[in-house]
């Protein structure tokens, strides 16, 4: 990603904060990150995480979904409390599972993507880069969930681009390929579009996932008292 003009110059390494209540896990992630990523701090609870973000202003926060402390809201609570004051900080959710329950909550709270804890070190580093650039990180499972929740399977397609409750035909194509395990670059090759366009589509889907009032999402969120 170093050839991307929006990337930070080499001189200023990308700052990362790791929030997870397991010290072993934090140490593991830290050891696995490449040197160009600078870990500026670690936190183990919701309150510590909020303080850490305020104090160090990292570019990316690797955020565990399940966190003790605070009001019991876990990772989503950290985003809700820490994000408003620090718009340049992006959150990448880390979850032990990639079940929709775990993931959609933090995404709707404002996370730019999520990865599972069993992701390889290279995947974690790549996801951090991507989120730092303002793009969204979708795993195949999240893409599958999105297709399901937005009714793509039953043939619902957005007619206008601004529609929040349905996916456009192109967005569905992109999501389908991601669900099948394609990397962004491969999606771009397959659809004869640029990687940047793929990223735009994914970001738009992420925005819909965060803002949509679609029944499947709001019912889900209401049931878990998120709204």
């Amino acid at each position: 990603m170093t050839d991307d003009p929006t990337a930070q110059p080499q001189a200023a390494p990308l700052t990362v904060a790791i929030v997870d209540d397991h010290s072993i896990f934090r140490a593991g992630v830290r050891a696995g990150l490449p040197p160009r990523l600078l870990v500026v701090g670690e936190a183990a609870t919701v309150d510590e995480a909020v303080d850490l973000v305020a104090a160090t202003r990292p570019r990316v926060v690797l955020l565990d979904v399940h966190l003790p402390g605070g009001a019991g809201g876990g990772g989503a609570e950290v985003i809700a409390r820490a994000a408003p004051g620090h718009t340049d900080t992006r959150f990448l959710a880390l979850s032990v599972s990639d079940a929709a329950d775990d993931v959609v909550r933090v995404i709707r709270a404002g996370a730019r993507g999520y990865i599972t804890k069993s992701s390889s070190e290279a995947d974690v580093a790549e996801a951090i880069d991507r989120v730092a650039e303002g793009d969204a990180v979708f795993s195949p499972r999240l893409a599958g969930f999105v297709l399901d929740a937005f009714g793509a399977v039953s043939g619902e397609t957005a007619q206008v681009d601004t529609e929040l409750d349905r996916l456009s035909a192109r967005e569905q194509e992109v999501m389908r390929l991601i669900a099948r395990g394609y990397a962004y670059k491969e999606v771009a090759t397959d659809l004869f579009i640029s990687v940047k366009t793929v990223e735009t589509h994914v970001s738009k889907v992420l925005r819909k996932l965060q803002l949509s009032n679609r029944h499947e999402l709001t019912a889900w969120a209401l049931q878990r008292k998120l709204l």
Partner: protein, 409 residues
């Protein structure tokens, strides 16, 4: 088989006392029933014993402990429809009422005919007995459904109690010389009568509460264990997978363990085996234990029960090939729509050209392509994402479903 503590079975004729006693002592039910009937005739001893046992022995609940899953998946604990306890009950109360009315009528007719019948005793006695029977029945029903707002039942139970009170009062007001002592005796009798009627119910209510509390404590304990497993063991397993060499034994074992533990902890709404996603996932687990590969299954769309076996078999064959020849991560994506099913199996191995299939892999084509053709679908084998690896794509058009597929909520 003798049981440790006597309890009354949920399936019962009258109150389940005979059945429970027989199960407890190992005696034949018929004999117990006969003995009770004989005792009942002998001055009502059997009836008293029966009533006492009925009030003091607990009823066998539906012996299904709340599952761990129900505890973990918070909203899933929907009211488990309790089996109808009154499924096989004889209409005892109605029969008793009939007997009471017949006795009352008979006594009146007899007194008209000139026989010396102590009406002043019989009528109040019948009223008391009826009131008690009704009250017990209502209170029992009240206890069973007290979760639901049952004000009607409360009113009926109170009415029955009033009947008891009236009957007891009748004993005394019908006496010829009322004085202070009769009134005092009447008051005491009323209190005692109501106490006798209500006591068994109170005893049961207290026991129910204790049981409920114990069940709640158990559930909390379970949830704590599950939370602990989730926080520690699952995380550790994830870390092992992350740090271990991809495809190594350590990673494979950790993954298998994680999968097992997770399915035990979180298998919400036990998936029906007919579901395509569930079948593919089961196949994935099977393959992962045999080959050094990770098989990720993503299935979307409504579950359909009318899918032909062939598509799962073909998908399985493709997954096996990918795991065997490519290894690494095998991605399976299944989409069920109303008019078609599509399954994609992709790997990032060396890839292979279907046009140049060597002899040894002829069976592969037959088992995938042939299978799909036989059930009216197609299978295409092409290079995978970014022109690497292999992607097998199975498509099966579905003609009008036998029954309307349920819409996703």
């Amino acid at each position: 088989m003798p049981t440790a503590t006597m309890s009354r079975p949920a399936l019962r004729v009258v109150g389940g006392v005979c059945g429970g006693f027989a199960a407890h002592t190992g005696l034949p039910v018929g004999a117990v029933r006969l003995a009770t009937a004989v005792l009942a005739v002998c001055g009502g001893a059997g009836v008293l014993l029966y009533a006492w046992l009925w009030a003091t022995t607990p009823s066998q609940g539906p012996a299904t402990p709340t599952s761990l899953r129900a505890v973990l998946t918070r909203p899933a604990a929907e009211a488990e429809a309790a089996p109808d306890e009154h499924a096989r009950r004889a209409p005892v109360v109605e029969i008793l009422l009939g007997i009471a009315l017949l006795t009352a009528g008979g006594a009146m007719v007899a007194s008209r005919l000139g026989a010396d019948v102590p009406l002043a005793f019989i009528v109040p006695a019948i009223v008391v007995a009826t009131g008690a029977a009704l009250a017990w029945r209502q209170l029992d029903a009240l206890r069973n459904v007290r979760a639901a707002g049952s004000s009607a039942l409360v009113v009926r139970a109170l009415g029955a109690l009033v009947l008891v009170v009236l009957g007891i009062l009748l004993f005394f007001t019908s006496s010829t010389h009322p004085n202070v002592w009769t009134v005092l005796t009447a008051a005491t009798a009323v209190l005692l009568g109501v106490a006798v009627v209500v006591a068994p119910w109170v005893v049961r209510l207290v026991r129910d509460l204790a049981e409920e509390r114990a069940a709640r404590v158990r559930d909390v304990e379970r949830a704590e264990i599950a939370a602990h497993l989730h926080d520690s063991v699952l995380q550790t397993l994830a870390l092992i997978q992350q740090r271990a060499e991809p495809g190594s034994d350590a990673a494979r074992l950790a993954r298998a363990q994680e999968r097992e533990l997770r399915s035990w902890l979180f298998a919400e709404q036990a998936e029906p085996t007919a579901d395509l996603g569930a079948q593919l996932r089961a196949t994935a687990v099977e393959i992962e234990t045999e080959y050094p590969a990770q098989v990720e299954v993503i299935a979307i769309g409504p579950a359909r029960a009318d899918l032909p076996e062939g598509i799962v078999a073909a998908a399985r064959e493709a997954m096996l090939n990918a795991a065997r020849h490519a290894g690494g991560t095998v991605r399976v994506y299944a989409e069920t729509a109303h008019d078609r099913v599509e399954v994609t199996i992709g790997d990032r191995g060396p890839g292979f050209d279907p046009a140049a299939v060597p002899e040894g892999r002829y069976g592969v084509r037959e088992s995938i392509v042939g299978r799909m053709q036989r059930i009216g679908g197609t299978a295409t084998i092409a290079p995978g994402p970014g022109r690497t690896g292999t992607e097998v794509r199975l498509v099966l058009p579905l003609t009008a479903p036998d029954r309307p597929t349920e819409e996703r909520p």
